[in-house]
């Protein structure tokens, strides 16, 4: 690893000052499980690493019944997976957390770090898409909120401007009740990046039964399969026909690449299959009364 200086600010205000002072020479880290590996592989060369891990206001997870769950920038993946409100109300998020890397890395890696890395295979990304998360950002221009659908702009690219820090994300509660899941296909269970990941919610709300489907690792940006969602709308127990159509629609919304983990053709075929399975699982769980 090349030499660098490290700053460990104790408040958000001093972190922002440091980022302003060092500009493009600085990089932020929370857990650091991505950043340290990138630095070791010489993919990034910050002169100053601004470590956010000592900033108290970025910690914690809080649940507000009318607003949803707020996940702080320092909340680790394991902390999120084990949170009682996440277990009860955000099953797709919990599934995504438990599919991420392994139990050791999850003790250090943060949920928002996975989002901010904005790598297409990021496991938390489809879950953030279906829960329609809002990212809270602090920066030179003050505070602002970014809807998750506007956040990721391409592989490893997002809409943060220099000097901005994501401080937390809020995931609103979907509808009156909902169930969800995240299905991940990888070459092995632990420590692997997704070849395809599909998050699905079945929601019971004012508009009756609706579905939300998002697919990861199948396009430069997260894919919300809105055509598939339309096909399924109102279907409490979608039959094979409907599932088939929805799966095909999800594949049509995807535009994967061929890489070392899987070919484009395989990913297209698997996004269809995982979508069918995820929708069937959610529909069954909501019928079965396991809803939140």
């Amino acid at each position: 690893m090349l030499a660098f200086e490290m700053e460990r600010p104790r408040s958000l205000a001093s972190a922002a000052e440091l980022l302003e002072k060092y500009g493009s020479r600085a990089m932020v880290k929370a857990g650091g499980t991505d950043v340290l590996v990138w630095m070791r592989k010489h993919a990034v060369h910050p002169e100053v690493l601004v470590d956010l891990s000592e900033i108290p206001e970025l910690r914690g997870i809080s649940f507000y019944p009318h607003r949803g769950i707020k996940i702080g920038a320092l909340a680790t993946v394991n902390e999120t997976a084990e949170n009682e409100d996440v277990k009860r109300y955000y099953p797709a998020l919990r599934d995504a957390c438990l599919s991420h890397s392994d139990i050791l890395i999850r003790n250090k890696a943060t949920v928002l770090g996975n989002i901010c890395a904005s790598v297409p295979s990021g496991d938390l990304i489809p879950a953030f898409a279906v829960y329609e998360a809002v990212l809270h950002v602090f920066g030179p221009g003050g505070e602002r909120d970014i809807p998750f659908s506007d956040f990721i702009t391409g592989p490893r690219k997002n809409s943060l401007i220099p000097g901005e820090i994501v401080t937390a994300a809020t995931l609103p509660l979907p509808g009156d009740r909902s169930v969800g899941c995240y299905l991940k296909l990888a070459r092995r269970n632990a420590l692997d990046l997704a070849q395809v990941g599909v998050a699905c919610l079945a929601v019971e709300g004012e508009e009756g039964r609706t579905y939300r489907i998002a697919c990861g690792a199948v396009a430069p940006k997260p894919v919300r399969a809105s055509e598939a969602e339309k096909i399924l709308q109102g279907a409490a127990a979608p039959g094979d026909d409907l599932l088939e159509k929805a799966g095909k629609a999800a594949a049509e919304a995807s535009n994967p690449i061929t890489d070392v983990r899987a070919s484009r053709e395989y990913r297209l075929s698997m996004v269809e299959e995982l979508t069918k399975r995820a929708v069937a699982l959610c529909a069954e769980r909501l019928q079965g009364g396991r809803a939140s």
């Binding site: 200086e5 490290m6 340290l36 070791r40 050791l104 890395i105 632990a190």
Partner: protein
């Protein structure tokens, strides 16, 4: 430029002088804690696992400066004052859960953090808990058996005041 980092290592306060880029793994090894193994150095293999404030973590993904004020436990810290092995270590010996031994300290630290939270685990629990530690010799089965056995011994010891560790 080197800076001082102060933390508790295996129950004793220590001060290391490190560069910001020095990982906890490299700092520990440089200061003689060689049970912490340098395997892949990118979070894939788990041979550098240590327990920090009761959480098992990969020390190659932690900068030494981040250990400031924390409590770091390595396999050396599990050994008793007269050199007696911890039940997990003993179980690894008894069950032949060691071949080349390179993964063993990391496996034991993962198992230690896990058994403190999950005293009566199923085999599936153990498999998930050790999923971040690779072993290329044993085929894992003796390791799962050792953790199961250690869990039983630790549950037993837990009933005797002063014996639970």
């Amino acid at each position: 430029m080197k800076r001082d980092v102060h933390f508790i290592l295996n129950g004793r306060p220590v001060t290391f002088s490190v560069e910001p880029r020095t990982t906890l793994l490299r700092a520990l090894r440089e200061y003689g804690v060689t049970s912490v193994k340098r395997g892949c150095e990118e979070g894939e293999c788990g041979t550098c696992t240590v327990v920090i404030d009761d959480l098992a973590q990969k020390s190659c993904m932690i900068l030494a400066l981040e250990a400031e004020g924390k409590s770091v436990l390595t396999v050396e810290g599990l050994v008793g004052p007269k050199g007696e092995l911890h039940p997990i270590q003993q179980a690894f010996v008894d069950e032949g859960a060691i071949q080349c031994g390179f993964c063993t300290p990391g496996m034991i630290m993962s198992a230690y953090a896990f058994l403190r939270k999950t005293p009566d685990p199923t085999e599936e629990d153990i498999r998930v808990a050790l999923a971040g530690n690779l072993c290329r010799c044993t085929g894992y089965i003796p390791i799962f058996r050792a953790v199961q056995k250690a869990a039983a011994v630790m549950r037993e010891l837990g009933h005797i005041p002063g014996r639970a560790r």
